[in-house]
């Protein structure tokens, strides 16, 4: 029995816990619990009123039973009763019960809220704290509704006790996380920022967390926290370790607070004020210097706390990415940790270096550690550390070291843990493609991958190698020869057979001149493995055989015999049977010309993002694929690309295939877009059917159309349709201030849009209505952007069904991500066959910069202060224009709101003017915008003024809005 010297003993509870522990079996435990539950139930139902102590004891027992993992369906009422007890411990148990169990019984919420309300009003700090803890622990919407508006005033009131302030701050943080819409911003936010100056370090600690959370939501409102945070941090890092008394932890001054302050600063770019900036740099230098000092204690707590601050400082340095000296120092420090005896530090150093590798300032410095990292891959005993080493090698890879890194990863793959094999395969495949100087190396690497880790090679990887071989003329012969040789192995992986079947089917003719790989030898080689493989592979091989019939007329009889055999024509699998029958018929009745057309070599694949990269992104989660996450891949890459120079990333030489967007640092991606992969090519079909030969041969020459019809990218038009169409923008400007409506309509088709936007992300539901009574066939739609726009706006299109029935409506989803401010417009291209004619329609898609507005409420004082701050001539754009519509105040109000800004009343001294404020969210930055519209009814004119921190934004917004009135 433990000697509990403190607290209130509840003997009954202790006995019950002992009983449970004495139970020899699960059944005995359940029996004992049921006995206890019956006992408690009868006590609660009994006539005799229970005293507070008993009630507390029984509620506590119920809690214990619940925490053991059993369901509790009563006792809530008794717990709520305890809230109104005067005895602290009774109240405390009541609150604990509610905090743990309240979700399961919400009809008591108003009683609970009542208890909380009383305690908040009690002015007794311990009671107030209990109530605040409970709100923070439960954090439900109902509680947010009841208390979110009250807590800010408790937090900033002058007479609130420190401990209550701390609870109130974190309580508010929790409510803001669960119900951000219910936490009102207002005058209190400015006073919260000043808590950073509070004398009580506990208050500062709690407040910093709250401010960080709020600043992430609306950075503009908390910009003043930067200077206060820097000042506070500077005082901490320069203090002697004893200065902060109990906030010093193992000789490290206020480590928790330091980490939180450094986190807060990561919500913002480097301070613009030079003095502030240099003070912050001094702080960061001091932290880096301290890492070099001898430790003040041998305890691990000392080094952990010190290094926690150091890693957070490095995170801030990487976030700013603007001080080359600091970045290189950070890299050197991490380099020391790579060889540290503490596994934890090695792990973190590898992780942190991964982000450093993508900064142009430190990429080279990171690369110097390549040998240490490779060594880690070979010697670390902990798989999670090895995983970090793989990530870092991937991140530091460039043209200069790609061969070494790919070779090391391949050799590690032979013994790698099964849990991380697939990811390594993806990474090797990506690096091999990205840094391929010549494609023979690429083909060799991928075939090696399949040999070493065939089971872990996902479809995306072998789809990709085929896409590349098809698009690169100069590697096709080598690929055919290499797969032919690889297939000689007595046991080869089925994935190799897939690649081999496909490539020989397309390019077997390139090696057929050599008698050792004559058509018949090729066919026999493939067919010798046919019976050992799965149905999808066999289906693919059958398609390769029909391609052989076209390539090599001399083997036609042999192949026809195979197709004709019972094992094919009467195969139990309907897909195989159908292919055999159809291919056999096709080979018998079609003339050589028709065969040559139908079975022509595959056309090049359209440029698109690597499906492997998409897969890796999905696997690793958003934002976890450093450096290359913005890379768009050009499978049509040709030698011209190697002449390109990448102005933004001098450290990595131009690549043959990767057509990098100008990006030099990772950005936290907030969502992972769904990207079409090769696997989507035949979405309705269960087979991995790259050849897409499952359509009936009667479809004849339209096979090629089918192959491309599902793709999101505009297909190289295989049919001769009408020439380029005019882009329709008739209804475009109507969508500036609204999100839903009809954007296009003619006799055949109506296109409607429903859009929603949140921060820098948007989603558009496009509805295609077939107004006719007959089908639209080969329906496809895609979105194209200018080259500039592609770097500013990502638009991902979901595939659509190729058929639209008469009178039916088809829905398509477009996911939009705004990377930086833009002024071009994406175009929606729709193509379909109606009654035999190909229809082409192009419509300007109403995605404009103002869609990424978040409204910002502010006071008159704030507004004018900011207005003045944006006083540089380039930041302001003004235009005077004639009213095109009647000048109606309500309509104007609605339009300004629809534009996306908050409409601020009482700001402008002239009440007839309109004033608005908002923040444009892009992935890279946020741009605060202020606008003022002054109507002149006599002259029927308007004057519109916009001020933002960015010239291009001011201009674009002004152009958009001035056409609306």
């Amino acid at each position: 029995m433990p000697a509990v010297s403190k607290g209130d003993g509840m003997r009954g509870l202790a006995v019950f816990i002992s009983d449970i522990r004495n139970c020899k079996s699960k059944e005995a435990e359940v029996k004992r619990i049921n006995k206890e539950l019956a006992n408690i139930r009868s006590k609660f139902k009994g006539d005799k009123a229970l005293d507070g102590y008993s009630k507390k004891k029984y509620v506590c027992k119920l809690l214990f039973i619940f925490l053991l993992g059993h369901d509790i369906d009563f006792g809530h009422m008794e717990a709520v009763n305890l809230l109104s007890s005067n005895k602290y411990t009774e109240k405390q148990i009541g609150y604990l019960f509610i905090s743990v169990l309240v979700n399961s019984n919400s009809d008591l919420i108003s009683l609970i809220n009542n208890g909380i309300k009383n305690d908040l009003a009690s002015r007794n700090p311990t009671f107030m704290n209990l109530a605040l803890h409970c709100i923070a622990n439960v954090g439900s919407r109902e509680m947010a509704e009841a208390f979110a508006s009250q807590i800010p005033s408790i937090l900033v009131a002058g007479d609130t006790m420190d401990s209550v302030k701390q609870s109130a701050a974190l309580c508010l943080l929790r409510l803001n996380r669960t119900s951000p819409d219910l936490v009102p911003m207002g005058e209190w936010t400015a006073r919260v920022v000043h808590l950073l100056n509070d004398q009580h370090l506990g208050v500062v600690t709690a407040a910093t967390s709250l401010i960080t959370t709020l600043a992430q939501k609306s950075p503009e409102d908390f910009r003043t926290s930067i200077s206060l945070a820097v000042a506070r941090l500077s005082r901490i890092v320069t203090s002697a370790s004893i200065d902060l008394q109990d906030y010093t932890y193992y000789f490290v001054a206020a480590p928790w607070l330091s980490v939180k302050l450094l986190r807060l600063l990561q919500c913002y770019p480097p301070p613009e004020d030079a003095a502030l900036r240099s003070r912050l740099t001094e702080c960061l230098e001091t932290i880096l210097n301290k890492a070099q000092e001898p430790p003040k204690s041998k305890k691990v707590q000392h080094s952990n706390a010190k290094n926690a601050v150091l890693f957070e400082a490095i995170a801030l340095i990487i976030h700013h990415d603007s001080e080359p000296t600091l970045l290189v120092r950070a890299c050197n420090q991490l380099g020391q940790f790579l060889q540290h005896r503490e596994t934890n530090l090695r792990y973190l150093a590898l992780e942190s270096m991964c982000t450093l590798a993508s900064s142009e300032f430190s990429h080279e410095a990171v690369k110097t550690h390549i040998d240490t990292v490779i060594n880690a891959l070979k010697t670390e005993r902990d798989v999670s550390v090895r995983q970090r080493a793989v990530d870092l090698l991937y991140a530091m890879c460039d043209r200069s070291n790609s061969k070494q890194i790919v070779a090391e990863m391949l050799s590690y793959l032979e013994n790698a843990d099964y849990s991380i094999r697939e990811e390594i395969v993806l990474k090797v495949a990506i690096l091999a493609e990205k840094y391929a100087v010549d494609y023979t190396w690429y083909v060799d690497t991928i075939l090696n991958l399949i040999r070493i880790a065939g089971d872990h090679v996902s479809e995306e990887v072998w789809y990709r190698v085929i896409q590349i071989v098809i698009n690169q003329d100069d590697v096709q012969g080598y690929a055919a020869k290499t797969v032919f040789e690889a297939l000689q192995a007595p046991a080869c992986h089925e994935n190799l057979l897939k690649v081999g079947g496909y490539i020989l089917g397309e390019f077997g003719n390139l090696i057929a001149g050599d008698p050792r790989s004559s058509p018949l030898v090729q066919f026999n080689l493939l067919h010798s493995k046919f019976h050992l493989c799965s149905v999808p592979t066999r289906a693919l091989l059958l398609s390769a055989y029909i391609k052989f019939i076209n390539l090599f007329p001399e083997v036609k009889p042999t192949i026809q015999d195979v197709l004709r055999s019972d094992s094919q024509l009467r195969n139990a699998d309907v897909e195989l049977q159908q292919r055999a029958i159809e291919y056999l018929r096709l080979s018998c009745i079609a003339s050589t010309d028709i065969l040559a057309t139908v079975l022509e070599e595959m056309p090049p694949f359209p440029e698109r993002e690597s499906s492997i990269l998409a897969k890796l992104k999905k696997k690793k989660g958003p934002g976890k694929v450093p450096d290359m996450d913005e890379a768009r891949w050009n499978v049509n890459g040709n030698t011209e690309h190697s002449e390109n120079t990448e102005p933004t990333n001098k450290s990595s030489p131009p690549s043959l295939v990767a057509d990098l967007l100008p990006t030099n640092r990772p950005r936290p991606a907030s969502y992972s877009p769904t990207i079409l992969s090769a696997g989507n090519m035949a979405p309705s079909h269960p087979f991995t059917d790259l050849l897409n030969m499952n359509s009936s041969p009667a479809a004849g020459a339209s096979l090629l159309v089918d192959v491309l019809s599902d793709l999101s990218s505009p297909a190289p038009a295989p049919t001769t349709g009408p020439g380029p169409t005019d882009v329709c923008e008739e209804h475009f400007s109507r969508f500036v201030c609204k999100n839903n409506g009809v954007i296009f309509e003619n006799q055949l088709l109506q296109i409607g849009l429903k859009s929603e936007y949140r921060q820098n992300l948007g989603r558009i539901y496009v509805f295609y209505g077939n107004k006719t009574s007959s089908q639209f066939l080969s329906f496809s739609s895609s979105v194209t952007s200018s080259d500039t726009l592609k770097t500013q706006l990502n638009v991902h299109t979901m595939p659509v069904d190729p058929t639209v029935e008469g009178g039916a409506q088809l829905q398509q989803i477009l996911n939009i991500e705004c990377l930086s401010d833009f002024s071009d417009t994406p175009v929606l291209n729709v193509q379909f066959r109606y009654g035999g004619t190909l229809q082409n329609i192009a419509v300007k898609l109403p995605v404009m910069l103002n869609k990424f507005f978040q409204p910002t409420e502010m006071t008159s004082e704030d507004f004018f202060q900011r207005w003045k701050q944006l006083g540089v001539p380039q930041q302001e754009v003004q235009t005077i224009f004639k009213a095109q519509h009647p000048m109606d105040t309500d309509v104007t109000n609605a339009k300004i709101l629809g534009f996306g800004v908050a409409l601020l009343s009482g700001v402008d001294p002239n009440p007839a003017n309109f004033v608005g404020a908002g923040v444009i969210h892009t992935k890279n930055t946020q741009v605060g915008c202020l606008l003022r519209l002054e109507p002149n009814p006599q002259a029927e004119m308007y004057r519109l003024t916009l001020r933002t921190s960015r010239e291009s934004v001011s201009q674009r917004l002004c152009d958009l809005l001035s056409e609306q009135f």
Binding site: A14, N22, Q92, L201, A308, T343, G621
Partner: protein, 169 residues
């Protein structure tokens, strides 16, 4: 921080604190999965692991594992020291704390945690201030029957590990 779990070497859950809304079923599933993952790790392995889209930070004290799940951008080392500070608080309050203290006085373990962490963030990192708050609360119940505090004499067959101090290893 998203949640904190305390569990024994035998996989018995001793304390659970959730800072994100989850249903009971999901909580049980997460607990089961995580307890298994952590117990399977060898002693010298590093204290951090990626788990789903979170980072898990854990440390073993005698028979008990303390395990926190934090978000990807959170600081692992400072979380490790959050665990340590919590153990220190328990140790100071109970006087050489062991697993049994936490089993028999689970409510106290929760109260101390609430004073230290709230909403998943450190509320008060000074050991003195946290304990002052808890002791003040203890003083408030002076009127409890004195006899009830001396509940000696309940026979419990203790596992040796459960009664060994968390700081002994």
């Amino acid at each position: 921080m998203q949640f904190m779990l305390l569990f024994s070497r035998q996989g018995k859950l001793r304390l659970q604190k959730w800072y994100v809304p989850l249903c009971e079923k999901e909580k049980k599933k997460i607990t089961r999965e995580l307890v298994q993952t952590v117990l399977a790790r060898k002693p010298k392995m590093c204290s951090f692991l990626e788990w789903r889209d979170l980072k898990v930070v854990y440390k073993r004290y005698a028979s008990l594992y303390f395990c926190c799940a934090i978000e990807p951008q959170d600081n692992e080392l400072i979380t490790l020291e959050i665990i340590h500070r919590y153990v220190e608080l328990l140790d100071k309050y109970f006087g050489s704390v062991c697993e049994l203290d936490i089993i028999f006085n689970f409510e106290k373990a929760y109260f101390i945690l609430d004073e230290f962490l709230l909403g998943g963030e450190a509320q008060e990192t000074s050991k003195k201030n946290v304990l002052k708050a808890i002791e003040q609360a203890d003083l408030l119940q002076e009127n409890i029957d004195f006899q009830m505090r001396l509940f000696a004499g309940v026979m419990v067959p203790n596992l040796v590990s459960e009664s060994s101090g968390l700081f002994q290893n």
